[in-house]
Every structure is written in structure tokens, then in C-alpha cells.
């Protein structure tokens, strides 16, 4: 029982630290919130993000130079827009909450940003990638540390074309998220000379894809591109196999998750996907983050967007340290963020509160793990993708 022991040791350590460093006057407590999908199909991502945010707060609370003690409230948006709007309203309406780190799912974030604006709650998005979350409005309260799906799809299209693929079939979910992926990928792909044989919109909770996939089998594309999240990705990949389709399977950042590999099993091998930002271990503060995360002994992995949640939480706390627990002041402070140090690299917000994340990482599943393309046996030529 390694984990509980570690946890209790960590707790004991925290208590010991707290006991030795309690100042004469207790610090004020400031409430901040984390919102993400803690249950449901993409909960692995949400829990990884939540743990990373909890870790950031725990580390800050151990820091005796910090002006405040932070209290993190974690809320579950279930990756459903209707639930997301409820918890967003609950959070924003609570005047004690100074700021929030919000949303992995783009469809949820799209519904929630209006609420944050209305209540004047400064938020930093930690995982949702739809451009419109920051670019579709002029809300000063909304910021994002991770990149958007535009760059991701540009690199994805170019990469696949460079590997000699000619024809695609596109499946996307019909939420804003899936439609966005479809739009940007199709744009970049046709510009680069690729051909899309068919595009299929599917609902976000669909179980049976055999009709769509049989039609795709008839079209016989080199690649099946899927713009959507892990649960659908798992089902589509499994049903491809049931129908004997041997096309290359290409996903987006939405399936870069350990739960995809767990769900699909051996069939995951050779799946490619793209994500903005460098992998955790290659980030400037990646080693520090990963070792702290390991020490804290969480039950779930940090997942692809954990480092962004960690960076977003720290940025929010930095803002509160600088200007005090006041929503307006924090919003103003965040507007001028320029080269702010973080474990994901320097953060700079543009006019829309969007951080510039230039690096796109290409992933391929090799032996059950998402491996950076350049480090994989596929890049070295030892293994080959389907139908290169």
C-alpha cells in the first residue's frame, strides 16, 4: 500500500510544516474555485486537472511568504453544458470566490463564459481548446493558458500530408468542440492538398457508429480523422475493428488521455493525435511538477492538461498575492500579464486573454502509452503506421 502511506506521510509533513511556521497572526483565507469534469467519460482529464490545481494550492499554502491562505473549491461540470452553467453560476454568484480555473470541455466553457462576464469573475481556462472561448467575445474576465485547436489542426494536417496520406474521412461530434475541429482541420487539409471523402457529424453520446463506418469503408479513405473526446474515440476505434477497417486512426487533443488507451486496449497501437504545448516532462518546470505530483501520491495521473491546470492555479494565486482578493483588481492584473513565469513556460496574454502556445506536440500510441512522435519507434522507422 504505497499510496496511502505516502499520502499520510505527506499529510504529516504538511502538519509539521504548518505547526512550525504558523505566524503570530493567522493569514486571511482566500477562496478560489476549480471546475472540470470530475465524473463521466472524460473524468480522467478532469481529475488530473483537479489534482494539479490542489497540488498548486497545497504548495502555496506551505509557502510562508504567501500573503494569504488559499481554499480551493472543486466543482464537477460533468462535461455537460447544462451542468456547467449551473456550477458556473453557483461559483460566480459566491462573492467569496475571487477567481476560478475552469473547464476542460469546450462546449461547457462556451456556455459558462457569459456567466463569468456577467458576475465579473476572473477565470483562467486550463484545458478547453475551442478558439471562440477567448476570441468569440470581448470579456476581460476570460483567459486561457493552454493553446487553441487552430494551431493543433494546422500541424496535424501538415504532418499527415507529409507522411504521404491522400484521402480522409472525418467524424466529429456535433458540439461546438467537434464542429471546431472539423472546420479547422478541413480548412488546413484541403489547403495542403488532402482530399476529404466524407464528413460525418455524430451526437456526443452516440453508441453505434457501424452505419457511418460502413459507409466510410465504402469510401475507403487512407485516414479516419476523429474530432471529439475520449469516450466516442474509444467506441469508434473499437467498431472500426469490428467492421474490418484498416485505415489509419487520427485523433485530436481530445483523446490524448490514458483512458483512451485503457478503453481501446491493443487496438490503440499506432493511433496518432496532436496537442498544443510540450509534454509534461519536457516543459521548463516539468520535472519539478511531475516529482511534486508523484510525492503528493494522487490516485489518478496528471493527464495531458494537468500542467496547464497547475500553471493556471499558480497564475491566479500570483495575481491575488499582487493585488489582493478583489475580483476587479485581479482581472485588471491578468490583462497585463506578459512573460509571467510558469512551469509551462512564460505566459503572455493577448487582447483576448489568450496565451500564446507555439509548440504543438505530435503523439503516437506505442505499447500502450502516448509517446512523443520524435521519440517513438514509428519515427525511427522500426514500426509503420497503417497505410503510409
Amino acid at each position: 500500500m504505497k499510496t496511502p502511506l505516502r499520502k499520510s506521510m505527506g499529510a504529516a509533513l504538511a502538519v509539521a510544516v504548518a505547526l512550525t511556521t504558523v505566524p503570530a497572526v493567522a493569514k486571511d483565507t482566500v477562496k478560489i474555485a476549480f471546475i472540470g469534469p470530475l465524473t463521466g467519460g472524460v473524468s480522467a482529464q478532469g481529475l488530473g486537472g483537479r489534482n494539479s490545481a490542489v497540488l498548486a494550492v497545497a504548495l502555496r499554502n506551505q509557502d510562508e511568504d504567501a500573503a494569504y491562505t488559499y481554499d480551493l473549491v472543486s466543482l464537477d461540470d460533468e462535461c455537460k453544458p447544462n451542468v456547467g452553467v449551473q456550477v458556473a453560476t453557483k461559483t460566480a454568484a459566491d462573492r467569496h470566490v475571487i477567481g476560478a480555473i475552469t473547464h476542460y470541455c469546450s462546449a461547457v466553457a462556451m456556455g459558462a463564459v457569459d456567466i463569468y462576464h456577467k458576475f465579473g469573475l476572473p477565470v483562467i481556462v486550463w484545458g478547453a481548446v475551442l478558439p471562440d472561448i477567448t476570441y468569440g467575445n470581448d470579456y476581460a474576465e476570460v483567459h486561457r493558458v493552454n493553446g487553441t485547436m487552430i494551431n493543433q489542426n494546422e500541424v496535424a494536417a501538415q504532418f499527415m500530408l507529409d507522411h504521404g496520406y491522400k484521402t480522409w474521412a472525418v467524424i466529429h461530434d456535433t458540439t461546438d468542440y467537434g464542429k471546431g475541429h472539423n472546420k479547422y482541420f478541413s480548412e488546413f487539409l484541403t489547403k495542403g492538398g488532402g482530399e476529404i471523402l466524407g464528413t460525418f457529424g455524430v451526437t456526443a453520446d452516440q453508441r453505434d457508429f457501424t452505419a457511418e463506418l460502413t459507409k466510410i469503408k465504402d469510401l475507403d479513405p487512407d485516414v479516419i480523422y476523429f474530432g471529439g473526446l475520449t469516450p466516442l474515440g474509444v467506441r469508434i476505434r473499437q467498431q472500426m475493428d469490428k467492421l474490418g477497417i484498416d485505415a489509419q486512426f487520427q485523433g485530436t487533443s481530445g483523446i490524448v488521455s490514458e483512458s483512451f488507451v485503457e478503453g481501446v486496449g491493443d487496438l490503440a497501437e499506432g493511433t496518432v493525435a496532436f496537442r498544443e504545448g510540450a509534454p509534461a516532462e519536457k516543459l521548463p518546470g516539468g520535472q519539478f511538477f511531475l516529482s511534486e505530483y508523484e510525492t503528493a501520491g494522487y490516485d489518478e495521473p496528471a493527464e495531458a492538461y494537468g500542467p496547464f491546470a497547475f500553471a493556471a492555479t499558480n497564475l491566479l494565486m500570483d495575481a491575488i498575492e499582487a493585488v489582493g482578493p478583489d475580483r476587479k483588481a485581479v482581472t485588471e492584473y491578468l490583462a497585463d500579464i506578459e512573460n509571467h513565469e510558469s512551469i509551462t513556460g512564460p505566459i503572455s496574454f493577448d487582447d483576448h486573454g489568450q496565451n500564446t502556445v507555439a509548440v504543438i506536440t505530435k503523439y503516437v500510441v506505442q505499447d500502450g502509452t502516448w509517446t512523443v512522435w520524435e521519440d517513438s519507434a514509428y519515427a525511427s522507422g522500426d514500426r509503420a503506421l497503417a497505410r503510409p
Partner: protein, 306 residues
């Protein structure tokens, strides 16, 4: 379109149709015997799938790893457990309300369905997350041109159709079936003839719920995934199938199930617009059929129910 692909569409449709028909059969049985619409049927199906999944985890725990034994035990436990729950629902929720307006039963079972769904979500360990249902059937496959035939799909369809035929024989060829038909036709006369009314109602609900559990297991084995919300759409589709076919008529339920699967497949394949609208298309046709034949394609005759 080449013949292989046509075969593939047909095979996909048959699997879906078998599942829908199994759900629709339950609706039609309940309506035939008791004149009630049990809206919790889809969630009972989900409960069956989770019962089977729990049985699988139990088998793994005690070290039984032979897939054939596993699939047999999983199915038996799920069907028996869910049949029992179905009978309990009939005894304590449906029968006491028999004299009440039908709307009350409809509402009660609608709420019961929500209660079952939320109970699994909240109380089953990690119940809000999808569960990977094990692939227990052999996955060998042969390619016939563009048509990939998989052993597990064939077994599922064969067993599913066998269950439907078995139900048909049970209703039409056995003494129990005779009693069920008698109760369906005229409750009071059936009582006078010495038929144990309560027992027949309970057995009917057990049979319908068992069939739903079987559909749930089939669903899990085919998609390799179950979740707490899986019964919602299946229940709705099964209900529509039963209505379109003719509520109260066993053949109608089967016809309705396959018709709905065919509509979904056509909606996804043959229509020029995006496949996102396939459910809209299928339900739209259902509405049209109901406007055309309000009593269903195979209309129920009062003298020939169930």
C-alpha cells in the same frame, strides 16, 4: 453499391434490430397483460447490464476465467436478477395502482426509472463513469469482399433471435402462455377459470424484464461498454418500436424493432445530409407512421392480444 457492403449494412441493422425488438417485446407484454406502459423499462435494462457486469467482476475475483463459463453465468445472473426486480416492481408499484388512472402508473414508472438511473450513478462504485464491458465472445472474423463477418456478432444475433422465438413459443404454445393470453384478454373471466391473476402478472413482468436484461448484456458485449444512461435512449426506441408495430402485439414489437434499426441505418447512409440527423429521421418516420396508422402496423385486436 456492392453486395458486400449491403450485407454489412444488413448485418449491422439486424444486430440493432434484435436489441430493439427485445426491449419492445417487454413494453408490449406489459401493455398486453396489464394495460400499463412501464417507462422504467430502459433503466431496468441498464440495471441488468450492471448486474451482469458485477457478476463478471465476481467471477474474476473467485478465479473463474473461462470466457464461455463467464458469459453463461453473467447472462444467467443478469436475467434472473433483473426478472426478480421486474416482478418486485410489478408487485409493489404497478399492481397496487391498477385501479388508478393509467397516467399515474406512467408517471410512477417514469420516476422509478430516474431513481434507478441515479441510484446506479451514485451508489455503484464509480457509477458515473462508463464501464468497460469485457469481450467474452470469440472475435474471429472472415472477410467476404467488403463484408466482415465476426463470430461474436453472429452468436449475439443467433442467441437474440432464439430468445425472441422462445418468447413467441412460450406465449403461444405453453400452458403458462395460455394463462398470460387469457389474463390479457379478460382478467375477470381468467380469474373465474381458476388462473392465479397476481402470479401471472408477476411472471409476465419477470419475463419482460429478463428480456430487457438480456438486451442489456447483448448491448454490453457488442459495444464493450456500459454506462448508467444507456437505458434512456434504448427505452425510448424500444417504446417507439412497440407503438409503431402495434402495442400489445408480439409480432408488432419485433417488426417495430427491426423497422427502427432499418430507419436509423438508412438515415445514416442513404440521406444526403449529415448522419447527425439519423435519429431525427428515424423518429420523424415513426411520427408519420403513427399518424397514418394510429394503432400500429399490426393493429391489436381485442380478441387477440399478446
Amino acid at each position: 453499391m456492392d453486395i458486400g457492403l449491403l450485407g454489412q449494412y444488413l448485418a449491422n441493422g439486424i444486430i440493432l434490430g434484435t436489441m430493439y425488438a427485445l426491449v419492445a417485446v417487454g413494453f408490449t407484454l406489459f401493455f398486453g397483460v396489464l394495460d400499463v406502459i412501464k417507462f422504467s423499462h430502459g433503466d431496468v435494462l441498464m440495471l441488468g447490464a450492471f448486474t451482469g457486469f458485477t457478476a463478471f467482476l465476481g467471477l474474476e475475483f473467485v478465479g473463474v476465467t473461462d470466457p464461455w463459463v463467464q458469459v453463461l453465468v453473467v447472462t444467467l445472473v443478469a436475467v434472473a436478477g433483473t426478472a426478480f426486480i421486474g416482478a418486485v416492481i410489478a408487485r409493489y408499484l404497478v399492481l397496487p395502482l391498477k385501479a388508478a388512472p393509467p397516467l399515474n402508473i406512467l408517471l410512477i414508472t417514469l420516476m422509478l426509472g430516474t431513481a434507478i438511473r441515479e441510484a446506479v450513478r451514485l451508489f455503484y462504485p464509480n457509477g458515473s463513469n462508463p464501464k468497460p464491458f469485457p469481450a467474452l465472445l470469440p472475435d474471429a472474423s472472415t472477410d467476404l469482399g467488403n463484408f466482415t463477418l465476426r463470430a461474436d456478432s453472429v452468436i449475439l444475433v443467433a442467441v437474440g433471435l432464439a430468445v425472441i422465438v422462445g418468447l413467441h413459443l412460450l406465449i403461444n404454445r405453453t400452458r403458462l402462455g395460455l394463462a398470460i393470453r387469457a389474463v390479457a384478454q379478460d382478467e375477470e373471466t381468467a380469474r373465474i377459470m381458476g388462473i392465479n391473476y397476481t402470479m401471472i402478472v408477476l411472471v409476465t413482468f419477470a419475463i419482460g424484464s429478463g428480456a430487457a436484461a438480456f438486451a442489456g448484456i447483448m448491448n454490453g458485449l457488442y459495444y464493450n461498454e456500459i454506462n448508467f444512461g444507456m437505458g434512456l435512449l434504448l427505452g425510448l426506441i424500444g417504446f417507439s418500436a412497440a407503438i409503431v408495430g402495434g402495442l400489445g402485439n408480439l409480432y408488432g414489437a419485433i417488426l417495430g424493432g427491426f423497422l427502427f434499426a432499418a430507419l436509423q441505418t438508412i438515415g445514416a447512409v442513404a440521406l444526403p445530409f449529415a448522419s447527425a440527423y439519423k435519429d431525427v429521421f428515424a423518429f420523424g418516420v415513426v411520427i408519420a407512421v403513427m399518424a397514418w396508422k394510429p394503432t400500429g402496423l399490426i393493429a391489436e385486436r381485442t380478441s387477440d392480444r399478446v
